[in-house]
Each structure stands twice: as C-alpha cells, then as structure tokens.
Amino acid sequence: MRSYLLRRLGQAALTLAGVSLLVFVILRVIPGDPAKMLLPEGAPQSAVDALNRELGLREPIWVQYGIFLRSVIRGDFGQSFQYRAPALRVVAERAPATIQLALVAMLLTVLVGVSIGVLAAVRRGTGYDYAGTVLAVLGQSLPNFWLGIMLILLFGVTLRWLPTSGFQGWSYLVLPSVTLAAFPTALVARLTRSSLLEILGQEYIRTGRAKGLGEPAVIWGHALRNAMIPLLTVIGLQIGTLLGGAVITESIFAWPGMGKLVVDAIFFRDFPVVQTVLIISATIFVVINLLIDVLYTVLDPRIRYG
C-alpha cells in the first residue's frame, strides 16, 4: 500500500516535471526574444542585452530551464505583459469563476449522466434505453460552441429567460454549465450503462437476488458500487475535458474565468499568462487523478497490492 502510493506520487512528480519542460520548450524557447517583449518598443540594444543577462537568457538552455523551474516552484511565473502584474496573481483572480463553473458542470455530469446510465441499464431494451442512447450520441456529437450558441439563441435571444453573458449571479451559471457538461454527461451515461450491464450479469448479483435482496439494494448497493471504479477513472479524466471546454464555453458566454483569460492572452501574446494557465491546469489534472487513484485503494482493496 505504502510503496504503491509512493510510486504513484513519484510518477505524478515526474509528470509535472515533464509538464514544466514542455511548457518551457513551447513558450520560452520558440517565440523569439522575451527581453524585447518586456521592454518598451525601440529600447536600445544595450538594454535588451542587459535584461537578457539578468533573465539568464545568455546561459545554456538547460541552465535556463533550471532557472525557470526554480522560479515556477517558488510561485514566480513572470510578469503579465498585458496586465503589468504578476502572472500568477492575474490567473488566481480568474480561477474562482472557472472552478465554480467546472464544479457545477461536474455535478451535472455525475447526477444526470449516472441517472441516465442506470435507467438505461435497468430498463434495457425499452424506450428509456433508446432515449438515453440517442441523448448520449447527440451529447457527444454536438460541438459545445454550437450548443452554447443555440442555447443563447433559444433561451437568451428568443425566450429571454436567462442571461447569456458575464457572471453576476446564479442564473448566469445555467447556460454555460449545461454547455460545458453536455459532452462529459453523454460519456458518463454511456459508460454507466455498459459497465452496469456487465456487472448485472455477474454471479454475485444473482446471489444477491437469490438471497432475497430487493432490486434497489442490488442496483445501488452492489452493482453501482462496483461500476463506480471504471467510472471514477473516466470522471477523473473529464477534469481535463472540463478545463479545456471552459476555454470555449467561457469565450462564448464572456465568463470571467481562466479559459477566456488564456484566449485573450494568446491574442495579446501575453506568454507569461499562457504558461501560468497551462501549468496550473495540468497540475490540477495530475493532482486530481492522483487523488482518484488513492481513492481506488479505498474502494477496491484488490488494487492496493497491484
């Protein structure tokens, strides 16, 4: 158990080191001369050289990576060109809006996705099952940027029921979170259905029924608990989908979060902000998936020694 956790922790640390290396290569090595971007236009060459030396940009590339890694670990992600403030602070100000949106979307995904999946599996071959399948296929095929715009068209422009832009209260959360949740909900519904169906065919389910357990006890107590394990992995991986989906969803609904921030930062060539958002979202993903792996060992003792 201990050695499994330690190995998993080491793996996560290694992944994060790789994340920092990749971001370093994409955003620090390729895009030209950072000193020129930091200084006002037309700054003398001597000033550019001096800043380059100060930033360590005259050092060999691996030394530069060392400097970069050290400052990232200290929480220094550089200065935002656009906001003239530490990039980490700029991103931290926008993070709560994204987290709120992602949490509501995750809640929707799990509640709606698992319910549809369970209903489809339990009523296999009935109208519920087919309706669930159609919904799931649609949810996976409609691009979220189109779905968002169609929701705006219907509930914002035509019916005028819901606000479509910005974030000034709970009603502003409805359309963006539905847009963001559609794809992962469909995935979770399909997976719940298939893994529940597989488990309902197992011996111990027959035993449970034979010993007189009611159907709800069989489904919720035994079958779903076992179906949770593959489901948890997929839900963990959906953190990535949600953070990525937030980029587009936030742009559509003018949601003041990290996703809209990173798109704006790209158009402004504000690379310190871009690198901060990239590193932070990858870290969130790695940490949550690490936690889920730990949770497994609680849910399924067989994995502890695997």
Partner: protein, 277 residues
C-alpha cells in the same frame, strides 16, 4: 455484407460521412458561387425554405457571400485537415507504440511518461498555445491536431505488442528464425489493425471538433478562407436578425461528428469479438 446488416448504426454513420465528404469534394460542381468574394447588395438573405430568393439555397452571410458555397468549401478545408491529422497521428502513434512495446525498457518508460505529460494538458489549451507560437498554416494545424491524438494509438499498439508477444504462434515464428521486423510486420501489425481503425474513425470526430473549435476562436483556418468554425463565430453576432448564419455550419459539424461517432461505435462492435453477441 450480411454481417454489416447487423450493425445498422455503422452503416448509417458511414453513409452520412460518405455523403458529406462527397459533397465537399464536389463543391465546384454543387455550387458555382464564389465562397470568398463579397457582394454587399445581397447581405443576410434568408435560406430558400424561409422565403429567401434564388439562387441562394441557404441564404447569404453578413458580407453577401453564398452560405452553401462557403459551407461546401469550408467543409473541404475542415475534412482535409482532420483526415491528414488522423493519418499523421496514427502513423506517429503506431511507430512510437511499436518501438515502446518491442524495445521495452528505457524507451518504453520514456514513451509512457511523455504520454502522461501530454494527457495532463487540456487538448485545446495546448493546441491554442502551440498555434500562437507556430502559426496557423495548414501544416502547423495538422501537426497540432496530430500531436493531440498520437497517444491513443501508441498506448493501444504497445498493449497489443505486449499481449501478442507472449502468444505461442509468435514464439513459434521466432523459434523458426523469424527476425523481429518480420514478426512485427507479419504477426503484430495485422493484429493491431482493428483497434487502430476503430480509434481512427472516432478520432476523426474529435479532430473535426478540435479544428472547428480552433477556427471558432480565430486560431485555426484564417479568413477569408471559409471554415465551419469561423462561420459559426461570425454568425454569433447576427443571432437576433439572421440566426441561420450560426445554425447552418453548426449542423454541418454535428452531422460529420455524428457520422464518425456512429461509424466508430459500429466498427468497435463489429471488430471487437468480446463485445459481439
């Protein structure tokens, strides 16, 4: 053929996809209108079904350009980019997966760690960051899309190599003196073909979504070149007076993605013996 009939969804998916590809390929025949040249006198004409005037079957956009023409030519771009990206991702992924599975050891460790790193990023975030640096040329877009897709193939091929290597007939071939390369080409690759095909057709859907997403954000295909994502983004400003501008390209994207998803699901059922009833 009789086996295909048991998987109607795969057939429907294949037909949808085939029809859209044909329409896009035949764009100059189906729509003689110019997809790029504006004609300001004919702005925001509604589609024919909504009472619009001929010859604009699907109406015109904010610059008076024929929406059908833009849809067809935009489809060419989207489908060509997605296809190239799937092929490139599969080629890289299969090569890397084979290397990891066959060579094992350090190479294997390295490949799997790189895959972990890649998967830690939300696909679209990594894509927009790279596009911001390398630009939006077709080559750059295909590379960015492929970069997001190779891991799936690499993991699948690696897993098949590890399983197949243990099998008796591979051992037998080796005992008879077959070289590593011969074993790979004659015994391992044919066995990985089915999963690669399944991944490829589902991934085609993902690639179309990703490419239109990038173009929607203004980081993909650049105007005046038409693309579905950019058409949608332009239509967003006209929701109250010309809602079809955003609706039509979205339907095209959904149709392609739906077709590719149905085909992928059907192929999986067809080719994966464990799921076959």
């Amino acid at each position: 053929m009789s086996r295909l009939r048991r998987y109607p969804m795969a057939v429907v998916g294949g037909l949808i996809l085939g029809a859209v590809i044909l329409a896009a390929a035949g764009a100059p025949l189906l729509s003689p209108a110019d997809p790029i040249k504006p004609s300001f006198g004919k702005r925001l004409q509604p589609p024919r079904v909504l009472g619009g005037a001929p010859p604009y079957l699907l109406g015109t956009d904010n610059l008076g350009r024929d929406i059908l023409a833009r849809l067809l030519y935009g489809g060419r771009v989207s489908l060509a980019l997605a296809t190239s990206a799937v092929v490139l991702a599969a080629a890289v992924g299969v090569a890397v997966g084979l290397a990891a599975g066959v060579l094992g050891g350090r190479v294997d460790d390295l490949v799997m760690r790189v895959a972990d790193v890649q998967l830690a990023f939300p696909v679209i975030m990594l894509a927009i960051a790279i596009v911001a640096v390398v630009g939006t040329s077709p080559g750059a877009l295909v590379s960015v899309l492929a970069l997001s897709g190779w891991v799936l193939y690499a993991r699948t091929v690696r897993a098949s190599v590890l399983t197949i290597r243990q099998l008796d007939y591979v051992e037998a071939a080796r005992t008879l003196g077959a070289s590593d390369l011969r074993v790979i080409i004659h015994h391992i690759l044919p066995n990985t073909l089915a999963p690669i095909l399944v991944i490829g057709s589902s991934q085609f859907a993902t690639m179309v979504l990703l490419e239109s997403g990038l173009s929607f954000l203004g980081l993909g295909v650049q105007p005046p070149q038409p693309s579905w994502g950019a058409m949608l983004a332009e239509g967003r400003d006209y929701l109250s007076n010309a809602w079809w501008l955003a609706t039509v390209p979205g339907m095209a994207i959904s149709l392609v993605v739906l077709g590719a998803n149905l085909l992928g699901d059907g192929l999986r059922d067809l080719l994966d013996p464990r799921l076959r009833q």
